[in-house]
Symmetry: C2
Subunit: 145 residues, 2 copies
DNA sequence: GTTTGACCTCAAGTCGACTTGAGTTCGTAG
DNA sequence: CTACGAACTCAAGTCGACTTGAGGTCAAAC
């Protein structure tokens, strides 16, 4: 089995060596051995890093990603959590798109002073309500492992 | 003109008093006067805070939001920046929705071991490429003021 | 045999948006 | 008149995901 040293893994994965050491410290990846002081990684680490990249894109924190692998490094994805996260992402995507439309309207509004635009004022009321709701829920709804 | 003290503003806006002081420190809002040591805010601060909330939702950093007001506190929104931000938000929303679909697929995949699923492997290749592109562009594309 | 360059460890720093804590000052209700 | 409670200032802490820097190790190329 071919072993990769950290620079090689960094180059292939697009991550910095310091990031790889950090992931190791957090238990996301493991070197199979050392050559002197140097970490030697097995080829499977690249696949693990892809999964990690994907999970990061999906917004999972590293701590949670660490639990997506068995102690032997095999991926073991929490389907329930993924499903929940997918729903959240979709909701967030919708919100973001809606907000983008509003911002676009504000940008394109011909009124020299935005406060003279009724839609803008309605938007502000919405923003205030959103803020109040956010502060009323200091705890983000959490996924269970 | 009725003056509001910080607790009143906090209650109406849904922000903590400490956040309001922080905003003041960063130049986003200003108390019109002091009553002893206590800040006294004019009613217009509530509207300013709505605008700030909106801009935060749209992803603008506070530093940039600070420049969205004239020295007198009147909103003066950078239409060009808003337009650019709206495009970015829309793009991000699309990406997020696409990613949500992929995550949902992974969650629903019947294959006991995800690595046996061809779609999943394709997804991993995509994740790697995305990671590499991200590292190739350490500087985020920036808006000019 | 020595230099080089990649790697190592460990502690500390960074960023943004606040929060927290300690110690202090006031206006107002009783 | 005094006690209460709401505000005040300023420094330091928090969170997550890394990066940076100082000082040390070591295998391989010359």
């Amino acid at each position: 089995m071919k072993l990769l040293d950290i620079g090689e893994v960094a180059a292939r994965s697009g991550l910095a060596p310091s990031a790889l050491r950090y992931y190791e410290e957090k238990g996301l990846i493991h070197a199979v051995t050392r050559h002197g002081l140097r970490r030697q990684y097995g080829a499977e680490v690249l696949q693990q890093l892809s999964i990690i990249a994907l999970a990061k894109m999906a917004g999972f924190p590293l701590e949670e990603i660490a639990r997506m692998f068995t102690p032997t490094g095999r991926p073991d994805l929490p389907r329930g959590d993924l499903h929940a996260r997918a729903e959240e992402m979709q909701a967030q995507a919708r919100q973001l798109a809606a907000l983008a439309d509003m911002v676009r309207h504000v940008a394109d509004c011909p009124e020299p002073n935005h406060l003279d635009c009724e839609k803008f004022r309605a938007l502000l009321r919405m923003a205030t309500r959103a803020q109040q709701r956010a502060s009323a829920t200091p705890k983000p709804p959490k996924r269970q492992s």
